[in-house]
């Protein structure tokens, strides 16, 4: 026993929570919400320097420490440079941020309900497939086709999201298991459909869909600049709108109040006359809608077609985004922006300094590791127990 623990009997004699679960409000209290992610980011950058040093193994062997320092400096300067300095970097940051934000919201909403949605990938895949179908099978007009295609994507995501919700609410199947399994099923379904005549592109034997028609393609954000290489599209606006919707839902509505209550204390929610089963299913439906929108935005905007792996690792990166953003609307936007910027900046870093783009992956992994280990952060930075004692644990995890 050590006295690192927070006091169980102060200010009351009774333990604050019989299950030892910590609720969201603890996790997102103001000091914690800003300090912890920031410290995690700084820690990751510090450890990243070691990675950079080893990536320049020649200088390391020569003992050219001045040279290494220069590399580190150049690499870290290239990151913001490649993310924000000019139209093209900003464009690339937006392109990377859009799906991360939407899928991040899909995880955040379930965190708020005390659930853990690992199924972002599957929901994106199903949503994207629905969208791409509408996208290539119509020839406009855009004003009808685009809303239809986007709506189809959201609907697909919602359906795929509702399944784990129903399984959890009605049969007690843990959502972590069911969403992972549904990811595999979605992946296989995508592969199957991409080889059917329904989707496959004429003259191709590999799994790739027909191209989305120009009328079904999401308009470019920077069309007014007349620079075709700026591929950012209005999917970003959808993502911002979704974040706004998330804020409105959580903070302003009765349903949001119920979702937060269910997430923080399901027993109390039930006592108060709320319906946990309904809330679980609804949260997953909203999550699926967000993820489906992410899929729609990828196939209708960024990629213009569906391939086997069009969702990439976004569904998993989204978990990191939601964690870093503490599942708040603003936090999730900022976290997605950070990850998007790192991704965009990483390209320039590799080109300009030779430091592999994988550094970005390592940085992201380190950030999450530090976020998930608040006591480690406390030890490293010697901050008070209050600021670090509440880690990102999940009500839905293990319950």
């Amino acid at each position: 026993m050590t006295d690192v623990q927070s006091p169980p009997d102060a200010p009351t004699d009774s333990p604050s929570d019989p299950n030892g679960k910590r609720g969201l409000r603890d996790r997102i209290d103001t000091t914690n919400a800003i300090t912890l992610p920031l410290l995690a980011f700084i820690s990751a950058l510090v450890i990243g320097t070691i990675v950079i040093a080893f990536s320049d193994i020649d200088k390391l062997q020569d003992g050219d420490f001045g040279g290494i320092l220069t590399t580190i400096k150049d690499a870290y300067l290239a990151l913001p440079d490649g993310a924000f300095n000019g139209w093209r970097p900003i464009n690339e940051t937006i392109v990377s941020t859009t799906p991360l934000l939407l899928a991040g919201l899909a995880v955040a909403i379930t965190f708020r309900a005390g659930l853990f949605n690992i199924g972002g990938t599957g929901q994106m895949l199903v949503g994207g497939m629905c969208s791409v179908y509408v996208g290539f099978s119509m020839n406009g007009p855009s004003i009808i086709q685009i809303p239809l295609a986007v709506g189809a994507g959201m609907l697909g995501g919602i359906i795929w999201g509702i399944i784990p919700g129903i399984l959890k609410a009605r049969a007690g199947v843990h959502e972590v298991i069911s969403t992972i399994m549904l990811n595999f099923i979605a992946g296989s379904l995508v592969l199957y459909f991409l080889k059917t005549d329904l989707f496959v592109r004429e003259g191709r034997s590999d799994p790739i869909s027909k191209l989305v028609t120009p009328e079904g393609t999401l308009p470019k954000l920077f069309a007014f600049l007349d620079r075709p290489e700026l591929r950012a599209h209005i999917g970003f606006l959808f993502a911002l709108a979704a974040a706004f919707f998330f804020w409105w839902l959580i903070e302003k509505t009765k349903l949001g109040f119920e979702i937060r209550a269910e997430g923080a204390n399901s027993n109390a929610a039930q006592y108060a006359g709320m319906k946990p089963a309904f809330l679980i299913i609804t949260s997953f439906a909203v999550a699926g809608g967000f993820a489906g929108l992410a899929g729609a935005s990828e196939v209708l905007g960024t990629q213009g077609r569906a391939t086997q792996g069009f969702a990439g690792d976004i569904g998993f990166d989204a978990i990191a985004v939601a964690l870093l953003g503490r599942s708040t609307p603003v936090g999730t936007v900022l976290a997605a922006l950070l990850f998007g910027a790192l991704q965009a900046g990483g390209q320039r870093m590799q080109v300009e300094t030779g430091v592999p783009v994988d550094l970005v992956l390592i940085l992201r992994a380190l950030i999450i590791l530090f976020i998930a280990a608040p006591l480690l952060m406390k030890a490293i930075w010697r901050i008070s127990a209050k600021g670090a004692s509440s880690g990102p644990s999940f009500g839905g995890w293990g319950s």
Binding site: P7, D9, A10, G23, K254, A264, Q270
Partner: protein, 507 residues
């Protein structure tokens, strides 16, 4: 042996749990440590037991400073603790539990005969009446507590600390417990008795130390102080210990529970064909030892638990298969027994908690959106009206003291027109000052014409509040008594299962 705590200070972030506390414990005497919840009693004892480390101050044994890094050090120094929540392995026998950790062995195996002999020796010496081969899970709570005591004795404790030992006992078990305490004292051991029940402290202690907000505010001689004086010392102001109420004027039967039967998932009977009613304008107290179906009875009435058979109605409205929301809308208030588990969302603000069961009404929402300004207005009114001590209405409820958390619930549940009030353990873990207030609110609800059902495992509370007392034993109503025609002793016998009105009637 003389154990002394000198100048103990323990700080937790944002709160000083112990502030320069001095305490002396001598062999052969009983020291009662009384104080409200949050006064720092448990923190102090955890420091003594090596579970926490004091920021300042020292512990002395017979004048020599000692340092307890772990509870193992404290045990080695002759300090034993009987926790409020027992640390027993239910599927082990008494003997196995007692020797757990210091097992006598023969070769590689447990020497059961020796373990049993040790338990019998201790049991005989202090008249504990323990059977070494009985399984813990089959024993009543009072006996389980004696197993805990014998664990401490086997480890040669000179000082025995009891943390709220009577909370889970029936009145008769409490009597037995005090006889054991006397025996321990006679054998020369020093006893620390942590409690918030003043009558018990006065009854058993040789000295009483009072803690208030982390400080020792006084030491009293039980022969020179009475309950009122002690309460005043504990709370820091004069308190009203007797519930001030006029005779009930019962009206029509409001809550009608008819042949209610509730079972758990495995089919075990929890509430056994129970029939009773509560009339408007009266307080019915449901007495019973913890775990005799009170929890399930309340859950069944309030829609939180499935009813196998029987009916529940309020003013003629059938609520047998109603949802918690339906019950709420039928003007029934429910103060749940465990505020941390279900009464509050600790992470939510006071304002949010004050509408937890009422957010859906037109008063606090319109269409799909919440009316937050009305929620905040409501919070300001109720915090003021119900004297909730909180830094602001935006403070998260989990940071309030137990008493103030309970006031938040009481304010939320009682601040509307009601037909029926169901209050379960309304003052558990609540300070004396808040108890007084909450009891007054319950009586006020009755006087406004609501039917009131108070469920409490504290017999004192039932006797203080109730106009009529119903005793539950193993899920059955074994007594329905007029408060003024009964007494603690009689109710205690019904609680223990020694008496049963049903049998008397048929006999």
């Amino acid at each position: 042996m003389e154990l002394e705590l000198r100048g103990i200070t323990k700080r937790f972030p944002g709160v000083v749990a112990n502030d320069n506390v001095n305490l002396t414990i001598r062999s052969g005497e009983v020291l009662a440590l009384v104080g409200e919840n949050g006064a720092g009693k448990s923190t102090l004892m955890n420091i003594l037991y090596g579970l926490y480390h004091a920021d300042e101050g020292d512990i002395y044994i017979d004048g020599t400073p000692v340092k307890f890094e772990t509870s193992g050090d404290a045990i080695a120094a002759g300090i034993g603790m009987v926790h409020q929540h027992f640390m027993l392995v239910p599927v082990f026998t008494v003997a196995e539990n007692v020797v757990l950790g210091i097992e006598p062995t023969r070769g590689l195996s447990l020497d059961r005969a020796k373990a049993a002999a040790e338990v019998e020796r201790i049991s005989d010496e202090y008249s504990l009446g323990l059977e070494p081969d009985a399984l813990i899970e089959n024993l009543p709570v009072g006996i389980q507590q004696r197993v805990e005591i014998s664990k401490v004795l086997l480890r040669d404790a000179e000082i025995v600390v009891f943390d709220e030992p009577t909370a889970v006992l029936t009145p008769q078990e409490i009597d037995d417990f005090f006889r054991i305490v006397e025996a321990l004292k006679a054998s020369g051991r020093g006893i620390v008795f942590i409690t918030h029940k003043l009558t018990e402290a006065l009854r058993v202690a040789d000295r009483i130390s009072v803690l208030r907000r982390g400080q020792t505010v006084g030491e009293a001689d039980p022969s020179e102080i009475d309950e009122v004086g002690l309460a005043e010392l504990m709370v820091g102001r004069p308190v009203q210990l007797v519930v001030d109420k006029s005779p009930a004027e019962p009206g029509a039967s409001t809550l009608q529970v008819n042949d209610l039967h509730v079972v758990d998932a495995s089919g075990r009977t929890l509430v056994d064909h129970t029939t009773f009613d509560v009339r408007a304008g009266e307080i019915v107290g449901i007495a019973g030892v913890q775990g005799n179906g009170q929890t399930e009875l309340v859950e069944a009435i309030t829609g939180l638990r499935e009813i196998l058979s029987g009916t529940v109605s309020v003013d003629g409205i059938d609520l047998t298969d109603a949802s918690p929301r339906d019950v709420h809308l039928a003007a029934v208030a429910h103060v749940p027994e465990d505020r941390q588990r279900s009464g509050l969302v600790s992470e939510f603000s006071v304002a949010e908690n004050l509408v937890l069961t009422r957010y859906h009404s037109d008063e606090f929402s319109s269409g799909v959106t919440m009316n937050w300004s009305r929620v905040r207005e409501n919070a300001r009114e109720l915090v003021e009206q119900y004297d909730v001590r909180t830094p602001s209405i935006d403070t998260s409820a989990g940071t309030l003291s137990g008493g103030n958390q309970q006031k938040v619930i009481v304010a939320r549940e009682l601040s509307r027109d009601l037909r029926l009030v169901i209050a379960s353990q309304p003052t558990r873990g609540v300070d004396v000052g808040s108890i007084e207030y909450i009891h007054a609110q319950v009586v006020a609800a009755r006087d406004e014409g609501a039917a009131v059902m108070v469920v409490s495992t504290e017999l004192d509370e039932v006797m203080a509040l109730a106009d009529r007392v119903i005793v539950l034993y193993r899920g059955r109503v074994v007594a329905d008594l007029d408060r003024d025609a009964t007494n603690h002793n009689e109710v205690g016998l019904y609680m223990a299962g020694a008496l049963d009105q049903n049998e008397q009637a048929s006999a």
